[in-house]
Subunit: 273 residues, 2 copies
């Protein structure tokens, strides 16, 4: 999917919500576990009930790898289901991958070709040749810049001799490798004003914002500091939507929660025109 297509979806649907499919069998409604294919059944219900309120889905691969080959199969089925039924959805593999060049090329093949995702999150530690294999027309590398967790303080905030913080260097240097049409950045929403610092370096790139909701980030602050003239944000919510209710009405509750977030987002989008 191109950036232009993604912008059009955002404008048309009046939302920049990404639903994180972090499906955990300990947290899904327990009556579903009687179903042989519980993970896919849960995902399908969540997708059907939230798709009108979001422009993207983001399964975190850890949750499926935890379930072994059965989890991998449920994930593949989920991606195929979105692709077939809701072809305008942008699908992100939240995988935090990155390896030496020839190995990153295998990951890129696994994620873009074998599994059919539009985008993948990438860790920047190994530098240029670990990222470049993910840069393709119509596909996206989403590079970790500033993450939403407490550990982001350990290395990402380290200043070099010139006062540049590591996450700022990642933003600056990676622009030499990629464009606004094949790279996005992860910017943790628990960081409020730091998103403004990020916007100074990458005014036009899409930012993927995790951490709104369960992790404590604020949608208001994210919109205030992160929106650019074309939107430029994908804001992820996982647990708050997926586990809004644990009864047989979980899908309706997820729909209500997604609609609530979409409604707020539509107002922010109105403000930028």
């Amino acid at each position: 999917m191109t950036g232009q297509q993604l912008y059009e979806n955002i404008r048309r649907k009046k939302t920049f919500l990404c639903v994180g499919l972090d499906t955990n069998t300990e947290k899904i409604p327990q009556h579903l576990l009687q179903d042989e294919d519980a993970v896919f059944t849960f995902n399908r219900a969540i997708i059907d009930s939230t798709q009108q309120f979001c422009v993207a889905y983001k399964p975190n691969l850890a949750f499926y790898e935890y379930m072994g080959t059965k989890g991998q199969a449920a994930l593949a089925k989920t991606v195929a289901y979105i692709r077939t039924n809701y072809p305008d959805q942008f699908i992100i593999a939240d995988a935090k991958r990155g390896d030496i060049g020839n190995t990153s090329a295998m990951y890129a093949g696994a994620i873009f070709d074998t599994a059919g995702y539009d985008a993948v999150t990438i860790a920047p530690y190994m530098g240029e040749d670990s990222v470049k294999p993910f840069l393709r027309a119509g596909k996206w590398a989403i590079l970790l810049a500033l993450t939403s967790n407490s550990g982001s303080q350990d290395f990402q905030m380290t200043e070099d001799a010139a006062g540049e913080r590591l996450f700022e260097k990642v933003l600056r240097i990676s622009q030499q490798w990629a464009t606004e049409d094949n790279m996005m950045y992860v910017a943790g929403a628990t960081k409020g004003k730091l998103i403004a610092d990020i916007r100074k370096i990458v005014p036009n790139h899409f930012l993927l914002i995790p951490g709104v909701g369960a992790q404590g980030g604020s949608l208001e602050e994210t919109a205030e500091y992160g929106l650019n003239s074309r939107c430029g944000l994908l804001v992820n919510s996982s647990r708050q939507i997926l586990y809004a209710d644990s009864s047989q009405y979980f899908a309706e509750a997820a729909k209500t929660e997604a609609a609530r977030v979409q409604n707020k987002m539509s107002q922010y989008l109105k403000q930028i025109g």
Copy 2:
């Protein structure tokens, strides 16, 4: 596996070789492709013919993810095969994982419990809470410090105001979280004398050294700068062993190559006593 057990295996077998199972269907002997289970058949032959010369195996997960669910199944079968037939082998998931705390816990479960590895490579960018879930008694987090690729220059060598390079900070800070008995470090063998800089900071930890062989690193230099009084090294070789020959005699050629490396290693071990 504890560090003590690993040291005993090294001493007994007179080798610190780790064989990287980066199995690529484009590179394995093409006659094997007639076999429905070609990847496992290849791995089993490589393992049977190299196991006496090495103490560890390290599948890189990218190569198996590239093959989709079928690749995942071949990998699970490979790990089970090693575990059952050669229980003294140390098995490393080369996965470069790392995510926020609750997600890293899922990866740890996937790798240690579901798949049954002894160790996993971890990217440090997301800091403490992304690494801690991998720290368990008898299991190992192998943190990327200095990698063997050209991109290691981009961020890992960045000096802070006090002149400390990022890879040095990673080595120093991560010792506050972990011990010599649950953490190792990746130190690229293409970096010669930099391994000596690493040894100053982590004199007693195990170092996992990729990049010897196809990537151009030298075993001599690695041994010179990396060995400590108890050995403290696992040196990985992948392509040079796996693809030593592409005929029906590939396993014998792999054996010859592994034996050649083991023979050199036994001499270095003799020097440290």
